[in-house]
Amino acid sequence: GASRQSDGEPVVFAASSLVDVLSELSAAEATPFSDVTLSFASSASLAAQIVDDAPVDVFISADRAQIERLRRAGFSDAQPQVVARNSLVIAVEAGNPLLLADLGDLSRGDVLVALAAPGVPLGEYSRGMLSAANIEVTPVTFEADARGVLAKVALGEVDAGIVYATDAASASNVDSVVIPEAEAVNVEYVALDLTEGSGAGQDLIEFLTSDAGRSALTNQGFLLP
């Protein structure tokens, strides 16, 4: 296709779970992100906009499948780069009143559980983890994303839910129960340079993998690739 490059400020499309970290970077001075325009939405929405020729330099997806689709459709020849990783935790009400300790507690009869829906990335990760651990969980609801699960937990509507570690960390009224089974889950944030190697996009991606970028990411609870 035509040049993906935006006309003025560089534009970054990012999965909405990166809101806090990228906003912080763009608010700070003298980083390549300080004069970047950020647009957050679900990875799928952003991909749809890119397919419609949206002016964008870098796309950071929470879902490798979206990146692959774009590459297959010929939107970029650049190599996708993993910039951050995330983990899964059990989100529980602040203070963990039901004293949930491990993944197995989710199948307790007195525990109402929310999971992300099959088909959305978080749902697929959760399902994979539970089936690997051979734990049968019957949730009361399949939420569309981590926000949904977290909101249900935060409002006390369910007792527990499986979410990304970063989301659980940033939410108030919610505590995380770290689960060892999550180690096996590989949640990756993949960045794709859409500027056809002109440099601007690559600079941004490189900054994220630099020390400054890495410390910002780890501050928000992300894991490094």
Partner: protein, 270 residues
């Protein structure tokens, strides 16, 4: 007849131009969408049990919501339009707020009141063991909360044009206020009620944010078609478009059938 109609229907040109522009504005995206949809995989989607389940649930809940909205909303509109209750303006604003709230926030408001920890919900839970969120009635409640204001405002504007001395005449003929309301006022307001019901139904059918927040998403009980569409969007936009097309077709059929029947008879060309 034909010559008369030609004359009487003379449309001011400015009106016609703007009106047809509006038609184009609506039709072009719909056509583009229809072109865009990968119809070849239609059969996969509509034979999928999950889709039909969601479709059934959506139609069922949106119809129940519409009926409840009429039952509750018409009296409310009447109170707002015709009675002297104090603070009418304020009550009207409160009752239309849910329309302005982002649907997710509307869902949060419902949880905060009717949820397990909610003001009313906690009482229901403690006293009667009733938990509203998650089962199917919660879907109806969520839809009702965001969609009923559309009916209320439309019907209120209908009541505002009063039936004048006709209602008085009915009273002098011995009709009680209730009889007058059902036999004179309601029929005279029918076009507005139908319009309001269609709006409410449409809004309820497309409702997503409040539903998933308040009622969650469970196949068969709370996964409506919009939720299914949204989830499909996360993985495959083509599937999502196909699912939404099912909804479009059903809506067109219902809208054409319904409006043709009920409104055509009253409104239409004089």
């Amino acid at each position: 007849m034909s010559r008369q109609q030609r004359h009487d229907a003379r449309v001011p040109i400015a009106l016609a131009v703007l009106g047809w522009l509006a038609v184009a504005f609506f039709v072009v995206p719909i056509v583009a969408l229809v072109i865009r949809v990968p119809w070849s995989s239609l059969s996969d989607v509509i034979t999928d049990d999950a889709t039909t389940e969601a479709l059934t649930l959506s139609v069922l809940t949106s119809v129940i919501t519409t009926v409840l909205a009429i039952v509750l909303g018409v009296p409310l509109a009447w109170l707002l339009a015709r009675s002297n209750i104090p603070g009418r303006q304020f009550i009207r604003a409160l009752c239309t707020l849910s329309m302005v709230l982002p649907p997710v926030v509307a869902g949060v408001a419902l949880l905060a009141s009717l949820g397990r920890r909610g003001v009313v919900g906690a009482i229901l839970d403690d006293w009667f063991g009733v938990r509203l969120p998650f089962p199917m009635p919660a879907v109806v409640i969520a839809q009702l909360f965001v969609a009923m204001p559309f009916l209320v405002l439309t019907v209120e504007s209908g009541f505002a044009r009063s039936a004048g001395t006709v209602e008085e005449a009915a009273r002098t003929l011995g009709a009680s206020p209730w009889y007058v309301f059902t036999r004179v006022t309601l029929p005279a307001t029918q076009p507005a009620i139908i319009a309001g019901a269609v709006l409410t139904w449409a809004r309820a059918l497309g409702e997503f944010g409040a539903t998933i927040t308040f009622a969650g998403n469970f196949p068969g009980t709370t996964r409506t078609l919009p939720i299914a569409t949204y989830l499909a969007l996360e993985s495959d936009i083509d599937d999502a478009l196909l699912i939404s097309m099912v909804m479009v077709v059903i809506s067109v059929v219902i809208l054409v059938a319904l409006r043709g029947r009920w409104v055509g008879a009253i409104g239409g060309v004089r």
